[in-house]
Symmetry: C2
Subunit: 143 residues, 2 copies
């Protein structure tokens, strides 16, 4: 599955006439080896540990490419930081976000999705994408 994403990104690069560079490889490896929802800052710091002179801008640019290529997805939890999650083809999930420790749990719920479609339809709306986040306290922080 990591291989599949690497291939997907390589294909994207070739198809767009872009270049395959050492930085892009390094960033991709680091991204794929990271938690499912990583902020740019976090990824940048992780990268700097091994690659002391990789540029901030390069990380930003590369993550945008990941999103474009479909292997990552931008998400924002309202804390002012953009995060990137590993995107899996055609899949979408929603999030439970712990406001205490920052833990993020993913979930999917068919019924909710269906109801969303109904709501949209009743307003003549065509849904392109959606965002559902439940903010609260996770089981560990509740204690």
């Amino acid at each position: 599955m990591k291989q599949a994403k690497k291939k997907a990104f390589r294909d994207f690069i070739t198809q767009k006439g872009l270049k395959s560079t050492r930085q892009r490889d390094v960033i991709l490896d680091c991204f794929l080896a990271s938690a499912r929802h990583i902020s740019i800052e976090e990824l940048y710091l992780k990268l700097r540990a091994k690659n002391p002179n990789i540029g901030y801008a390069t990380v930003y640019r590369t993550l945008k490419l990941f999103a474009e290529s479909g292997i990552a997805r931008e998400i924002q939890f309202g804390d002012g930081q953009t995060r990137y999650e590993h995107a899996t083809e055609g899949e979408h999930h929603d999030h439970l976000v712990c406001t205490r420790c920052g833990k993020i749990i993913e979930f999917e719920n068919e019924t909710i999705e269906k109801l969303q479609e109904e709501v949209a339809k009743s307003h003549g709306f065509l849904i392109e994408n959606h965002k559902l986040e439940l903010y609260g306290v996770c089981s560990l922080c509740k204690k």
Copy 2:
């Protein structure tokens, strides 16, 4: 209902030992007379029309107070601008956001809320608040 909010804010001010100022009155009036989802920029410009020397910072600070007092709620639709909506005690609504014209439609759906609770419970999560936004094309923009 506007009176209720004015009172609620006055009460908040007193209870917190803050001061009632001309600016806060003006901003509150302007906010209450505005569309349900107004950006800070929009509100600021509206205010400047009548109060040429009100400060940007004051508007920001005051809107934060509104949110704290419960008469307004911060929302972000991912366009990089914070908006404030009129908050009604204990009520929460979700949004349909047209990605073409920016129109925002509010909706509420009991069943979705109930399902959210179930999802949360199954993860031992305690929901404090949530955010559901459906992005897409509104009926007018579809044509």
